[in-house]
C-alpha cells in the first residue's frame, strides 16, 4: 500500500515536472521568436534609435548651414509668416494671393494643384510642380519667414510646432519629396545655397549633435 502511494506520488511529480518543462519550452520558443523579430527590427535603419553625441559647438556650426538653406527662397517661400505663400527669388507675395486654407492646399477655386502640376511646367514664369504641393496647414503653420536662427532651431525640434516630428522623422524629412523639390525648382529659379547632400549632412549633424539652438533671441 505504501509502495503504491509512493508510485502515485512519483507519477504526479513527473506529470507536474513535464507540464512545467513543457510550459518553459513554449515560453522559450516564444521569447526566441520575439527576440528574433526584435533583432530584425533593430537592423532596420528607419526604426533604429538615433545615436546622439552631444557637441554644442559642432551642432551650432551645422545649424548655420541649415539656416542658410531654410531661409533661402526655395524653402521659405512656402513657410510664410502670413497665409499667402511667397514667390520668386525675392520672396514677394505670390501673385493672385492664393490663401493657405485649413489643410494648406488652398481654398475654393484657388487650390494649389489647380495650377501646380505633379511636375514642373516647362518655361519661364510657369508654375513649378510636385504631386504634394502645399503650405503647412493652418493648425501647424511652421513659419520660417522672420525667424532668427535661435527661434527657428527651437521651433524645428518642438513636436508641437514641427508637425509632430521626433528625431527620426526629422532626419527622414530631409528626403521628403517636397523638400527635394527645392533642388529642382523649374526654369529661372535659383537653387538653395548648397547641394542637397551638403544640406542633408549639415541637417543630420545638427540633429545628432544635440540640435543646439544658436545663442540669441
Amino acid at each position: 500500500m505504501k509502495h503504491q502511494n509512493q508510485t502515485h506520488t512519483r507519477a504526479r511529480v513527473s506529470i507536474k515536472t513535464l507540464a512545467v518543462v513543457g510550459i518553459l519550452l513554449i515560453m522559450t520558443g516564444f521569447m526566441a521568436f520575439t527576440f528574433d523579430n526584435g533583432g530584425k527590427h533593430n537592423n532596420d535603419p528607419v526604426s533604429s534609435p538615433v545615436a546622439v553625441k552631444k557637441d554644442s559647438a559642432a551642432s551650432v556650426k551645422a545649424f548655420k548651414q541649415v539656416y542658410m538653406v531654410l531661409m533661402s527662397a526655395r524653402c521659405m517661400n512656402c513657410h510664410p509668416s502670413g497665409d499667402i505663400p511667397l514667390q520668386g527669388d525675392d520672396s514677394h507675395l505670390h501673385t493672385m494671393s492664393p490663401r493657405r486654407g485649413i489643410d494648406g492646399k488652398g481654398v475654393y477655386a484657388m487650390k494649389c494643384s489647380n495650377c501646380h502640376q505633379a511636375a514642373n511646367t516647362p518655361g519661364l514664369h510657369t508654375p513649378p510642380g510636385n504631386p504634394n504641393w502645399h503650405l503647412p496647414p493652418a493648425g501647424m503653420r511652421m513659419v520660417f519667414q522672420g525667424r532668427t536662427p535661435h527661434q527657428l532651431a527651437k521651433q524645428l525640434i518642438d513636436p508641437k510646432r514641427n508637425g509632430n516630428k521626433d528625431l527620426k522623422k526629422l532626419i527622414a524629412h530631409a528626403d521628403d519629396g517636397l523638400v527635394m523639390a527645392a533642388w529642382n525648382p523649374g526654369e529661372g529659379r535659383s537653387l538653395p545655397p548648397m547641394s542637397h547632400d551638403a544640406f542633408k549632412k549639415a541637417w543630420i549633424t545638427w540633429l545628432t549633435t544635440g540640435a543646439y539652438a544658436p545663442k540669441g533671441k
Binding site: P98, A109, N114, C115, A118, T126
Partner: protein, 157 residues
C-alpha cells in the same frame, strides 16, 4: 489614346499625352467656350472643372485627365441656368466677355463650397481670375446674387 469624359460624354482622344487640356478641349473636341489667356496659369481664362476642381487647362496635361471627368462652361448647366450664369446675365457683368467663362467656372466652385460667401470669401476665391476690363465689382455683385438664387432654388426643390 486617352479616355476622358467631357460634360458627361466619353471621348477617346488621339493626342500627345503632354498636350495641354485646353488644346484638347478647343481644338480636338471642338468646345471653344474655354479661352486661352496667358498660357502659364496666371489669368484664369482657361478654368475648367476636373473632378470638381477649378484647374487651369492651359498648364494641365491631357495625361492628368486620363479616366477623369471634365466640365467646361458648355456643360456647367443644361440650359445655361446655373445660378452664376443667371446672375451674370442679370447683372450684365461682362464688358468684352473674354475672361468670363473662366470667371463663372471659378465662381461655381466657390458657390458650391461656400453657398453664402462674404466679400472676403469672394476675394479669396476669385483672386486668380483676371479681368482686363475691370468688371470686378459686378462679378462680386453677381456672386452675391447667385448665392441668393442658389438658396432660393434649393428652397423651392
Amino acid at each position: 489614346m486617352t479616355n476622358i469624359t467631357v460634360n458627361g460624354k466619353p471621348h477617346q482622344v488621339d493626342a500627345d499625352p503632354n498636350m495641354p487640356l485646353l488644346w484638347v478641349i478647343r481644338d480636338v473636341i471642338g468646345l471653344t467656350g474655354t479661352k486661352y489667356g496667358c498660357g502659364v496659369a496666371q489669368c484664369g481664362a482657361c478654368v475648367i472643372h476636373l473632378n470638381g476642381d477649378a484647374v487651369r487647362s492651359c498648364v494641365t496635361k491631357l495625361s492628368r485627365a486620363e479616366g477623369q471627368h471634365i466640365v467646361t462652361i458648355e456643360g456647367l448647366s443644361a440650359n445655361n441656368d446655373h445660378p452664376a450664369q443667371l446672375a451674370w446675365n442679370e447683372e450684365q457683368v461682362p464688358q468684352c466677355g473674354y475672361c468670363h467663362s473662366g470667371q463663372i467656372m471659378s465662381a461655381a466652385v466657390l458657390l458650391r463650397d461656400n453657398p453664402n460667401p462674404t466679400d472676403a470669401d469672394i476675394d479669396a476665391g476669385m483672386a486668380g481670375n483676371i479681368c482686363r476690363c475691370g468688371t470686378y465689382q459686378r462679378i462680386r455683385k453677381a456672386i452675391h446674387l447667385a448665392a441668393e438664387l442658389q438658396r432660393k432654388g434649393a428652397a423651392s426643390k
